[in-house]
Structure formats: C-alpha cells, structure tokens
Amino acid sequence: MAGTDLVAAPPRTTPGSSRTPAARRRLERGALYLVLTVIAVVMVVPFVWMILTSLKTPQDLAATPPSFLPAQWAWGNYAEALAAAPFLTYARNSLIIAVSHTAINLVIASMAGYALARLRFRGSELVFIGFVAALMIPTYTKIIPEFLIVRFMPLFGGNDILGQGGTGWLDTWWALIVPGAVTPFAVFLFRQFYLDLPVELEEAARLDGVSELGIWARIMTPLVKPAFITVALLTFESSWNNFLWPLLVTRTDSMRVIQVGLSVFRTENDTQWAFLMAGTTLATVPMVVLFLLGQKYFVRGFANAGIK
C-alpha cells in the first residue's frame, strides 16, 4: 500500500525567480513607474518645447541643429506678442463662448439623448437616424448655409421680418454661441449612456409620481456623470480651439476669439514662431487651470467610464 507523504513538497523554484513576492512587487512597480515616466515625458515635451520656443530669439530659432534651451532668454516676446492684438479681450470671448457651448450642449443634448433613449414617441427612430446622419456631414459643407441663416436672421441686427435690410446675427454673441452649441455627437453619446440604465429605476420613479423632467434630472442623469464629463471636456476643447466660424461671423476686434487672434502671427510668407508660441502658451493657460481645478472630477469620471 502506498503511504501518503505527509511532508509538504518544497515550493518549486525556477532559475532566476528566487525573488520574494515583495521584491517582485517592487520590480513591477519600478517598471510601471518607468513606463509612466516615459509616457509623461512624451506628453509634456511638446508643451515644454512650446514654452522654450516662446522664449527664443530669431537666431536661436534658426540654429542648426536646433537647441533645446534658448541661448538668450527673450522674455520680451510675451510683451511684444500681447501688444500685437487685444489678447485679453480675445481670451475673455473664447471663455464666454466655450462655457456657453458646454452648458448648452450638456443641458439640451442630454435631454435629447434621454428622450431618444427612454421615451417612446412616433418617429423617434427616424429622429435618431437623423442625428446619426448629421454626424456624417462634413463641417465645412455646412458653413455657407449656416452663415446665410445667421446673416438673414429676422428681426436681428436691423433685419426686417423677412431677414432683409441688416446684418442679422453677424458680429454678435448670437452668431458665436447659438450655431454649433448642440452637437449631434453629444446627443448620440448621451442616448447610448441613457439606454444602458435599468428600466426599473424609471418605472419606480413614475410610480412615485415623479415628473418626466424630474426622472431625467434627479434619477437618471446622476447615473451618467461620465457622459457629462466627457461631453463637457470635448465641447469646451473644440469650442476653445474653433477658428474658421468665429473668423467668418465677426469683423470687429471686440468679438474676436483667441485662435483668430493667434493667426496674426502666421503671415503669407512667414510665421513668427516665437510670438505664436508665446500667444499659444498664454492661450493654453486657461485649459491647464481648468484641468488643475477639476482634475479630481475628470479622473473620477474617466475611471467610472472605464468601469462601466
């Protein structure tokens, strides 16, 4: 009869893996930090390069091979860039437009997304297909028709009821904020998020007598925060960086935005890189500040989105 060997077998070891679990964890953590450091450097280098370029003289910019640090720190580039145009006004305008777009998009697009996802009404599928189709229209094909709508807006800017005689919404906040405030992409995204929520929540709320607006605002919307954070970030960023539309619908400095202002440094024959980078650095500051203020929420939002 074969006896049972009660002595536990020694742990199997393979050559080269004699590290303790703690040592292995340290090694893994070290490798992780190394990879993260490399990624962080790759992400940060363009910004550092932008700031360093903004502080270079024309001779430094022409150096072959390019120098990393300026030989002479040209802090005056910032003063000269700021003197070229009213950049504070441009930045204020960009901020107003970006915040307005973000707020409007979050409210209207989430309502539309909720309606398309949770409410049954005749033609809802058709409306949704319309939104999806709108996603596929290239932006630039819409510019001329949108411009004409803005220009002939009745009863604005001296226009009569038929939209004639004045300038409509041109060179006003209306033209800068209303067109493009609600994006089909945001509606689509919100619809997909609302679709995934359990129907029991909605039904329970209805049984408790909560209105449809209340269900959207108090029951369902708090559960799709990641969608709100994603849409908010994308809307703010795209609005802040918009160039062509603000250029077309405005003509006075008081209505111009930061990206249009920065284009002054790109001339037909030349680009004044140091001034452009100085202006771009300043234009980037609000976005960086925004992120620093809200990074806890952003990270949490993306983490939740990942879990979802």
């Binding site: 024309p58 006075t252 440094f265 001339t267 037909e268 030349d270």
Partner: protein, 428 residues
Amino acid sequence: MELSRRNFLVAMGLGTATVMAGCATTSGSGAPAADASGPAQGDITFLCALFEGATGKETLEGNLLKQFKEKYPDVNVTVDYTDYGSLNEKITTGLASGLMPDVVTLGVGWIPPFAYKNAIAPLPESLATRYTYEERVLEPSRFDGKLYALPMVLDTRIVAYRKDFFEEAGITAPPKDWAELREIAKELTVRDKDGTLQRAGFDPFSIDLRQCWETFLFGNSGELFSADGREVLFDSPEGVAALQLFLDMVADGSADFALTTEAGQPTTLQQGTSAIMMTNNSLYVQLQQQNPELVDKVGTFVLGNTAPAMLQGGTMISQSASSKNPAAARALVEFLGSPDAVLVASEQRGSVPAISDLRDSDYVKGNPMVAFALENLGKARSEGGTPAWMEIREKIKPTLETAVVGQQTAEQAIAQLAGIADDAIARL
C-alpha cells in the same frame, strides 16, 4: 480627390455667391461703375489680409488710418483682419450674403473671378497713371480691359543660391537655362558615405509647388490660359516639361521632396541643406533676423529655359461693387494705393513696393532682394487669367504632387489638371 475646407467652400460658396449675386446683375459683363463722385463720408469696412505680424495692426491703425482720418474726417473705417489663407472664404461668404466689405485686399489672379461675378467695381483709368507702374505689375489688376484694383505689395518668386558653395565648387556664374541648372545642381549635391543626402543641389519644393511650377512654365515660354481666359494652355509640352524637370532632378538625386520647410522655419539654404532654392524676396528679412552671417553669402538670379521669368504674387486693393458709401471706399483705395502707404506696407512685411518710383527709397536701397525684384519686374509673370481661377488654383498643387511622389507621370498629372480646369471654365 482631396477633400479640403477650401474645395468645399469654393464649390459651394462661389456657386451660392453666383446665385445670390447673379439675381441682381449679370455675370461676365463687368460691374456697373460705382458712383464715387459724392463727398467721402460714412462708415466703411476694410477686409484686410495685409498688415499681419506683431507690428501689423499698429502700422495700419496707429499710423496709416490716422493719416487717412485726418484727410477724410467723415469716414469711419472698421478693419476686418483675416489671414491670407482665409481671405477667399471671407470674401465668398460676404458675397453670398450680400455683405461684401467696402474695400478688400485681393491676391494676384483674383481680379478676373471677382470682377466677373460683379463683386468688385472698376476704377477710373486715371489711377493707373498717377504713379509709375510697370505694365506687368498692372496686368493682374485688369479684367476685360478695365482697371479693378491698385497693386500695393508684390511678393516675387526668385532663385537664391549660396555663393560660398558655388565658390568652393569653382562655379563662377549662376545657371542660364535648365540644362546648366541640372549640371550645377548635380555638382553641388553632397551625400555622405552611406549615400544619405547632406545637401541637395536644388530645392524647388520649399515654396508652393503651384507657384514654383508656374515660374518654370513661364520660363519655358509656356502660358496658363488664353488671353480671354477660356482656353487651357498649360497642358502644352512646355507645361509638361516644367513639371518633368522636377521629377528628373528628384530622380538624379539633386533634389529631394522631403527637404521642404515651413514658412518661418530656417530655409534649406540657411541650413546648408541646399545650394540653390526657389524662394521669395522676403528671404532677405529672414536672413537678417535669423542668420545675419549669411546675408553676404546668398545671391539671387532669375532663371528661365527659353525666357527668364519671375513669378509675381502680391496683394491688391479693390473696391466693392455694392458699397453703400462708394466715395469713401474709393478714397480709401486711392489712399492705400499711394506711395506712402505702399512703402509702409512693403517695409512692414519685407515685400516689393508695387510703385516703381519707390526704387529710390531707403527701404528698397537697404534690401537687396527687394531691389533685385524691382529691377527685374520686366520679367515678371502673374498667375491666374481666367474667371475660373479660384476653383482651379486650389487643385494645382495637389495634382502636381501626385507626379512628384510617383503616383502618375508628369504628362498624366498635367492632363488631369487640364481636365479640371476645362470643367471649371465650362461652368462659367
């Protein structure tokens, strides 16, 4: 086909503009002359693609428009700044919506399209003779025999070379034709032991390929269009040969499409990675700012194969045909076309003043490349020449590039381009 912002805008915008503008007037017969006989007064807008850069706004509004205001106190000018790349879109949307700016800056080649669409008003012929202009300079300001614009600044495409590289190789004079160019370029091309290109003999690709090809087309006695702008002529053997020259130089290793530099970057000539390059007269200002040690080492010449030719770009000033204050708009056009304004604008951006009388100014004397361009304005040729130019010009570069990167032959690329141009002209 390349799907770009401009393609869409040109196709849709000008189409819309034609419908909108065409409702009131007929195209092709020229706009009615604006009545500018009254007193210069009222509010006008000036769509401006000049006076860019860090000092542009101050130069225009702090200097020139103050002088204008002193002369015309009852005229209020609102300046609508735009970059040159978006100028066409601004004009197109303005035209489509019936809100054309009173005074506009236009590029060389742009007069026929916008005059044909009655967007701009003819100017009195007397403005063509009040100062001395080279006839070549005024050519792009005319359409259908009438003057529609006053030239302000010119940007010429010339050939620049490194004198020190020529001296090292014992070459005493710049090439006189394409055969000499190819020989010299081969001689000046430098490769390391591995065969990696260290210095190209010739860099034709650091300026817009459209403008570069046009320069060589004209230098080979070719033409873009017939005099009435209704027939494509660039698909001639001269046009094909101009493009083939670039392909041959890439093939023999004396040119490299990968060497292109962006505007504002140190050019290949500055970096020493080319010995000869196509460039713009504004290179001199760039040299002064970035590489003052190279100022004396860079020379310029006008190249041709059968006829020396220098491409002339530039910016002109024109008056809207629908201005509500035509006298005020005319006053601003005349003011901006005067020597004082032209000189200030040229100096601010390193361009060539369009008025020949200014060749004795300190600015021209102090800028050898500008002086060189002024001396050679008799050899200047301009692009455009057809009312369909705005649509055609955007297609030239991408079509030519297909040949440079080997997707099709030079003959095929030029034939494709001619087809596009024929279609655009047929739609007029």
